[in-house]
Subunit: 106 residues, 2 copies
């Protein structure tokens, strides 16, 4: 029923750098979001998959937070290489990357 086979949201929430909560934008999330957009386009996946920035996903302490729907798999992705690994392994090959996953709080 959804428009996309995979829909990736990257938290790009920005707080004041002095804020003790931290924020994804201050940990490089804007660049991570751009990597997802660019790599999906380069793989010819626009139309079947989409990456979007989002507001605060409430996991700021962990670093740049990403959620992949419809399966609802959450990641902390700190580097361009990790982003590409999630695209190739999870999005393209259907094998979520356990090592980079965030686990639910409860």
């Amino acid at each position: 029923m959804s428009f996309y086979e995979k829909h990736v949201f990257v938290c790009t929430n920005r707080r004041d750098p002095q804020n003790p909560k931290g924020s994804c934008a201050n940990s490089g999330a804007d660049e991570i979001c751009q990597v997802f957009k660019k790599e999906l386009a380069e793989r010819g996946l626009r139309g079947t998959m989409r990456a979007n920035s989002s507001g605060c996903l409430d996991q700021c302490a962990h670093g740049p937070t990403v959620v992949v729907y419809p399966e609802g798999v959450w990641y902390t992705i700190r580097t361009t290489a990790e982003a590409k690994e999630v695209i190739d392994e999870h999005l393209v090959n259907g094998r979520p990357v356990e090592r980079l996953m965030l686990k639910p709080k409860k």
Copy 2:
């Protein structure tokens, strides 16, 4: 596996008002997003459901665009009353609101 039973994303993309494509922000999407956040909090659903703003969901021509995951149901939601209807009927009672749904392009 996901952190939330329902995760709502509201496109708040903003283009120049003169842009012929239009944009969700120029159709009242910021207010719609705030309604989702406020109403979920008031119903005591923070923690099990979440509403976030998102970048462009590529449905600008229709008006404020909302997608509900994990089920991937897409809506055009133009008014506060419509937002509350989706919260009560779909999010709380599990009955997606057919009348307000966007249909996939393909």
